[in-house]
Subunit: 220 residues, 2 copies
Amino acid sequence: MRYHKIPDETVRRLPIYLRGLMVSADQEREHISSQSLASFVGIEAWQIRKDLSYFGDFGTPGVGYNIYRLARGIKKTLRLDVIRRAALVGVGDLGSALLAYPGFRVYGLDIVAAFDIDPQKIGSTVNGVAIENAAQLDTLRRRDISLAIVAVPRDAAQATVDSLVAAGVKGILNFAPCKLVAARRIKVITLDIAMELARLPYYMPRAEQAAETVLKMDDG
Amino acid sequence: MRYHKIPDETVRRLPIYLRGLMVSADQEREHISSQSLASFVGIEAWQIRKDLSYFGDFGTPGVGYNIYRLARGIKKTLRLDVIRRAALVGVGDLGSALLAYPGFRVYGLDIVAAFDIDPQKIGSTVNGVAIENAAQLDTLRRRDISLAIVAVPRDAAQATVDSLVAAGVKGILNFAPCKLVAARRIKVITLDIAMELARLPYYMPRAEQAAETVLKMDDG
DNA sequence: CCATGTGAAGGTATTCACAGCC
DNA sequence: GGCTGTGAATACCTTCACATGG
């Protein structure tokens, strides 16, 4: 399986395994079986083994996976083996929360710059990061920042992306609720929070009203 | 196709169409073709037609889709045709940002209650929503709130979910970076923001360092 | 004996191409 | 002529079962 392209769905699950391994690493044990990891992260054991088989022999039959070695392997595959510097554009409510969020560090991701257009915000510091004028986005290239988070209002999102791409950014995580266009070589992942909440009701059993209706029907 | 189960991937795309239709509705036109909607939301036209075919005949050949009627149809399918009341647990940086976020309204979702354990926060108001004591989560049932957003630290997430389920909540959007267990009938969607950012590097072309390495190899 | 890694089977989603309707 | 809705083909992903190796 070593020569096979890694399926997108596997790439989506790798960070989950990594997260699980990090937490497991705190325990004393040096190895972990696909079975243990499975119950910890909530994904079936055979799925984990299959996923890992796409890019390396990390396990030892009869023993399991060396936690440290596997974590390294996944990081390398995801290209998270170097510290990645990221920029944030848009320091509103969500942007500020992201600056304060400690979770990125786990993956070797570091928000080292923040931009906004509000003169009131420019110059101030949020969580140790100075807020710069969004007009200076073009400085990103020489600062070796190729990853960006877009947390600006929808109407400003496309222009922001254009500036980021011009500044040499190669990957963008977008929180604005709209489609963004960029050259094929640029990877854009859009994460619309409201949309995730919006698909919950579909999976929920019919609400109280429905139950009430059933009761009434029984009564009648 | 009307009798077929709607694929999960279709359910995931429906909110995108809905979002696109809402914005399109501002224009004068009454109808929209799968082609126009496709270029607007960034999904292929045949994919849209196929998705819509799973749950109704909304289009008119030669004309397109009536924007209003289609939006209604999608809302009904996603069970977003009634206003849904949601509760937020954990009013930290992210939680506060979510309270301020206007995007939920588009889908008929309304955060009407917020909870925290910090005495400093309890009693205060954020964006018009009073922050209550998290110990009072059990009041959700009689307040007709069956949707919840979990934005508490990882260590508190599972206990929060347990309380929510006990309080009659049927759907949970979780921002804590961990697996959560709940009865099968409860739908839990976990959204780990850092994880999304973490899979960006995989799709990015090799960084400057790599390019340099190649150059050196050429030199040697 | 235990746990991995993987062919093969089965299932689901994507993509195509076009018949049918306005 | 234009556009929808959908069977059929294709591609992709999941799931199983077991051969293989420590």
